[in-house]
């Protein structure tokens, strides 16, 4: 047995399955997974799931990319107007009223005057009600108001 024959005898044999699982097949797989991980991290949030007072509330979608912290939450859903998860007034009633200031909301928000406030508005609310909400908050001394929206890059 010559040297060449001996070398081939002791060398590792590549099976047909190893040939299929070559570097050329694995590299795109790793790339794909990396892209998936980046996409998941970019389009998701580490914050806990949002819990809305009114289950029928659907938030609007925005292209904005901002984060903020608030101490007071005002939610206006199709059913009612909530402050810190407590129902204060009826949306349907105030939708039709001509008055621009909502007394129930105003009195409650006076207690939180000057605090940063997060407003959660149902995406189908009419501007006529939204302006009443904003006007009432401003009259109660709330200067820093942010509207919560679902990010357009969300999963």
């Amino acid at each position: 047995m010559n040297l060449r024959q001996r070398r081939s005898f002791f060398s590792k044999r590549t099976s047909s399955s190893d040939e299929h699982l070559g570097v050329a097949a694995l590299a795109p797989l790793v790339d794909l997974f990396t892209l998936l991980v980046v996409a998941i991290l970019r389009s998701s949030s580490p914050e806990p799931a949002l819990q809305l007072s009114d289950p029928n509330t659907d938030l609007p979608v925005s292209l904005s990319e901002m984060s903020a912290e608030h101490s007071v939450v005002v939610e206006v859903g199709p059913d009612g107007i909530y402050v810190q998860n407590y129902r204060r007034a009826s949306t349907e009633y105030w939708q039709d009223q001509d008055e621009i200031l909502i007394p129930e909301l105003y009195k409650e928000m006076l207690r939180h005057s000057g605090q940063k406030t997060e407003v959660r508005l149902h995406f189908e609310l009419d501007w006529s009600l939204v302006e009443k909400i904003l006007f009432t908050l401003q009259q109660a001394g709330i200067k820093d108001i942010d509207l919560l929206a679902i990010s357009a890059s969300s999963l």
Binding site: D18, L21, I40, M66, H122
Partner: protein, 186 residues
């Protein structure tokens, strides 16, 4: 000529490394999906201009007032969802002293039914007064929250750059005086 004492050069096999990386990713993806919240939220600063509480910014550029009134065109069945708005752009341009907070101005008003034309006009105004950051939006009563958010988004950023980052909402109602709050009787 074949050399009898030539040794084989071992080429390192990177397949195990790649396989372990793929396995790590395969574990990481479901863990991430379990941990993170798929609903990503964001915030939009809201401020409303009223007679009793206007948040002023003293802007001393060539444009004193920049206001856009937005309404919906009812009955439009255009395939373009953006074509359902009608816009009225109002600009107060200072004629004399551009550094004055309030001065002699000329008022120009344009009406648009095309969003693209309106945005082009706003770009022209921005190029004329690059330091201007504020725009006042007057939504009609037909507009909904989603419409307002849409307009705030496109006015705040244009092609990825700050356009008019300070969007102030203004009511078209004239009775924005604070009504008297009746205290509950004991």
């Amino acid at each position: 000529m074949h050399r009898s004492f030539q040794t084989d050069i071992d080429v390192p096999d990177i397949r195990p490394t790649l396989l372990s990386l793929a396995a790590l990713m395969l574990l990481l993806i479901p863990i991430l999906l379990l941990i993170v919240n798929p609903q990503k939220t964001t915030y939009l600063p809201l401020s409303m201009s009223t007679k009793s509480g206007v948040p002023p910014i003293a802007h001393t550029g060539p444009i004193e007032v920049l206001k856009i009134s937005i309404d919906t065109i009812t009955g439009t069945k255009s395939p373009d969802p953006l074509a359902k708005y009608s816009m009225r752009l109002e600009v107060h341009r200072r004629k004399s002293d551009v550094r004055a907070s309030q001065g002699d101005t000329e008022v120009k008003i344009w009406n648009f039914t095309s969003r693209r034309e309106c945005m082009q006009m706003l770009r022209d105004i921005k190029s004329f007064d690059k330091a201007r950051e504020r725009i006042t939006v007057v939504p009609s009563k037909n507009l909904r929250t989603s419409d307002i958010v849409f307009w705030m988004d496109i006015l705040r950023k244009d092609n990825g750059e700050d356009f008019f980052p300070s969007v102030v909402l203004e009511s078209s109602r004239s009775d924005l005086n604070l009504p008297t709050i009746k205290e509950d009787d004991e």
